[in-house]
């Protein structure tokens, strides 16, 4: 294929060629970054929380009118919940993953430390919490019933024992010696002993960027029964009995005491959906925008190439009359498009990286891997070839006899 005649023809249509190339460049820049964000957000929303989320639901139990014996009421509720048919286990806690609302505190390796060694999210629960959530204890032991004390939301106390996540254990003791070691939590002076390590337990926050992502698995469980005006009851059911138990549980709780409000009863799978709703929404919107973008660019190529073809019908006829095959005409337009699209793609790769760098600095986004830019470039080249096919086929079907007629 001869490229020189194509280039000289293009010189006569500079503006049209430049417009298509620019369009391809901007399309590529948006496509790369858009699809990169889509991929990231979807990956984010699939991070495991550490819980076994099926057959688990949460009840937001709020006491009405500040009753005095909340501690014994909660214990009675838990006993009743655990006795319900279809219930595997139940626990009371101050927070649970995926809710984006919770309690965070500092951890120190020494008493009287000025700068915190780490920050962690504080889960409170009795010896049933690990089984209820379905966490995997990878070292040490669970709490004993005798270790469990009451604690309200304004109490500033430090526990004697604590269970931490593996991520936090590795952060505090990189040599792997966390089990049995003492730490100081919540700025206190009393040492707290690590008695167990769970494989994974997310903090309640699911946001991207900043501390939310950095401290993502830095959680601890303290041996407290959370006694406050409101708390979460988590209930694990036998497989397939979730809906039935959700009904019987709320009925049973209201039978026990009407002085309460069951503000929310929700399967944990629903909590996950609402936690990542914005991430998924953003992914869907971006995917739609990218698809529309591809459509618009393809239409633009079809439109402009069709115009070129109709402008050059006579010249095409003459080439055909002089012996050019249909294939040669087809390849002419395909090559022309390839040249323009390649120029556009090269500019586009630069633009894509520039846009990404700007997002890295202003939105704390991760860096775009060059693989994405190259994949995007290939995508727009294929797109160009597909879009040019129809007008090019029309050009190829121009009859040689056209050359003999006056226009």
């Amino acid at each position: 294929m001869q490229i020189l005649p194509i280039l000289s023809a293009m010189r006569r249509n500079k503006v049209g060629a430049v417009l298509i190339a620019l369009q391809i460049a901007v399309t590529l820049a948006i496509l790369c970054n858009g699809l990169f964000i889509v991929q990231q957000r979807l990956a984010l929303s699939h991070r495991p929380s550490g819980m076994v989320e099926t057959d688990l639901f949460a009840i937001d139990n709020e006491w009405i009118g500040d009753p005095t014996d909340v501690s014994s009421r909660i214990r009675a509720d838990l006993a009743a919940l655990r006795a319900l048919p279809g219930v595997v286990d139940a626990a009371n806690t101050d927070q649970y993953p995926l809710t984006n609302s919770g309690w965070s505190e500092g951890i120190d390796l020494k008493a009287d430390q000025q700068t915190r060694s780490a920050f962690m999210s504080l889960y409170m629960g009795d010896e049933h919490l690990i089984d209820t959530l379905g966490l995997r204890l990878v070292a040490g032991r669970n709490f004993e019933p005798s270790e469990i004390l009451d604690r309200g939301s304004t109490d500033r106390v430090q526990p004697a024992t604590i269970i931490v996540t593996r991520a936090l254990a590795d952060k505090l003791f990189p040599d792997g010696s966390a089990l049995g070691r003492s730490i100081y939590v919540e700025g206190g002076k009393q040492p707290t002993q690590i008695v167990g390590i769970v494989e994974r337990l997310q903090t309640p926050w699911t946001g991207t960027g900043g501390w939310q992502e950095k401290y993502f698995e830095f959680s601890v469980i303290e041996p407290y029964q959370f006694v406050d005006t409101g708390s979460w009851y988590l209930v694990r059911t036998k497989p397939g009995q979730l809906a039935a138990v959700m009904q019987s549980a709320s009925k049973r709780l209201l039978e026990l005491d009407r002085n309460r409000l069951l503000q929310k009863i929700e399967p944990v799978t629903d909590t996950r959906v609402s936690a990542y709703r914005d991430d998924r929404g953003l992914a869907v919107i971006l995917a739609v925008v990218c698809a529309a973008l591809v459509g618009v660019t393809a239409c633009g190529i079809v439109g402009l190439t069709s115009y070129w073809v109709s402008q050059r019908r006579r010249q095409i006829g003459i080439r055909r009359a002089l012996g050019a095959t249909r294939g040669a005409i087809l390849r002419y337009f395909q090559t022309e498009n390839l040249l323009i699209a390649t120029a556009g793609a090269l500019v586009g790769i630069g633009l894509a990286i520039a846009v990404n760098l700007w997002m890295v600095t202003s939105f704390a986004m991760p860096r775009l891997s060059p693989v994405w830019a190259v994949l995007g470039a290939l995508l727009v080249l294929v797109l160009g070839q597909l879009a040019v096919l129809w007008p090019a086929l029309r050009a190829a079907s121009v009859p040689p006899a056209l050359a003999t007629r006056s226009a």
Binding site: L19, I20, T27, I30, I64, D66, G188, D278, G300
Partner: protein, 437 residues
């Protein structure tokens, strides 16, 4: 003449129906995408209190040593204040008006025993809150200085709660049970929903949340816990009273300073206050202080989520692609009519007439694209509402300003895209075209 050009434009649109449809669709889609993003962005980044946003300020003080900057703010200053600082500032009355505020949860027992009890977010503030933030009243009035001083059991309802609990009638003077105590209703608000909720960004800044308002002094007296974050830098003791004495930060504080002179005076006051705190031995360092107005505060706290700015950016890139596309197609469309133009030029039409005619044709396409774009924006907002968190976008709707922006943007952008093709068309040489055909 322009009417004639307009009818020519319509005729030309019909003649190249496919090309015209492609152009209108491209502009419409581009306008639809960018307007959807822009509407959401405008709603979230708007000024919540335009009349007073330059007169309302929130002070900050560096309560923790210079080596321990707050990780959440760019200048390391804490974004909330402690009870002791807030009380010192309330007592000093160095501003025209001032209030400390926080949110708490209370259970409400409806007057109608058939209604279920509810728990709701309660705003806790001083009586200045209402006049500072120009909160509109439907019935009654704010509580008074005396109520603040006496820790009075009074409550102001939002319109929604009044509708829910009292069927919307004037409930001033009636009573309400909150956490087993009886409160007297002194006022009912009219619709009031600053977006974003600038005065307490500890809470989700968009959507409804505060439903009742009670005096700050009352809430402290009854030890009502904050619904939001409490950051404690040192050991604060076990009880609520200990927490009040501590350096835990959990309150928002706002002052009203009508003139620049008041602002300068208040800055001076804050500086002196900080120096005095250092002298008294509370801090080993001279605490930095800062005073930001509403707009500065919203920018400083990054209220508009990154996602929204990101979408705005990408959608305007998308609009650019659509316009490049339209420019290419317009070029094709106008140049394919070079013959007609040549005839008109030969019959005596000046270049300016050709230019005007092509420009009107371009503007017509832009207008049609704008109308399509508006429809798509409506659909886009509906989609955004169902895909994103309701609080995010529930309050975004198309107003007349948006309609104007969309149509104006569509026409202006299309004219811009059509400028070069139009110029080319106007330079058609009549003789060439006549010869060629």
């Amino acid at each position: 003449m322009y009417r004639y050009y307009f009818s020519l434009a319509l005729r030309s649109l019909r003649r190249n129906a496919v090309l015209s449809a492609l152009m209108i669709a491209a502009i419409g889609v581009g306008i639809g995408a960018s307007m959807t993003a822009l509407t959401v962005f405008r709603a979230m980044s708007g000024d919540p209190i335009p009349a007073k946003s330059r007169q309302l300020f929130t002070p900050q003080i560096q309560i923790r040593g210079p080596n321990h900057p707050d990780s959440e703010s760019e200048d390391g200053l804490p974004t909330a204040v402690s009870y002791s600082d807030a009380m010192a500032w309330m007592r000093a009355r160095a501003a025209t008006r001032q209030t400390a505020t926080y949110a708490t949860w209370l259970s409400v027992r409806p007057p109608d025993p058939k209604q279920k009890p509810l728990k709701t977010v309660v705003r806790v503030a001083y009586h200045d809150f209402f006049s500072m933030f120009t909160v509109p009243f439907k019935f009654g009035a704010p509580w008074t200085q005396a109520d603040d001083d006496n820790r009075a059991a009074v409550v102001v309802l939002t319109r929604g709660v009044n509708d829910q609990l009292f069927g919307g009638v004037n409930s001033v003077g009636k009573t309400l049970r909150l956490d087993n105590e009886t409160y007297t209703v002194v006022g009912v608000l009219n619709d009031w929903l600053p977006i974003p909720r600038f005065y307490d960004l500890q809470m989700v800044p968009f959507g409804e949340s505060d439903r009742l308002l009670i005096p700050f002094t009352r809430a402290i007296d009854r030890e009502m816990a904050v619904d939001g974050s409490t950051s404690c830098y040192d050991e604060s003791g076990a009880s609520f009273a200990d927490m009040l004495k501590s350096n835990c930060i959990w309150l928002q504080f706002w002052v009203e300073l009508p003139t620049p002179a008041d602002v300068a005076k208040y800055r001076l006051y804050l500086g002196n206050y900080a120096a005095e705190q250092q002298r008294s031995g509370r801090f080993a360092w001279l605490p930095r202080t800062q005073l930001r107005d509403v707009r500065e505060w919203l920018a400083y706290r990054h209220v508009v989520p990154n996602e929204v700015s990101l979408l705005l950016l990408l959608s305007f890139g998308f609009l650019m692609v659509c316009l490049l596309n339209a420019a290419g197609l317009l070029l094709a469309k106008l140049m394919s009519r070079a013959g007609d133009i040549g005839v008109r030029r030969a019959l005596g039409a000046p270049r300016s007439a050709i230019f005007a005619q092509c420009l009107i044709e371009t503007a017509t396409i832009g207008l049609a694209g704008g109308v399509l774009g508006l429809t798509l924006t409506g659909l886009g907002l509906l989609a955004a509402r169902s895909l994103l968190d309701a609080d995010f976008v529930a309050l975004t709707h198309l107003d007349w300003a948006d309609v104007g922006i969309a149509l104006g943007l569509a026409v202006a952008a299309t004219l811009l895209a059509g400028l070069y093709p139009t110029w080319r068309a106007a330079r058609v040489q009549p003789a060439w075209q006549l010869k060629a055909s």
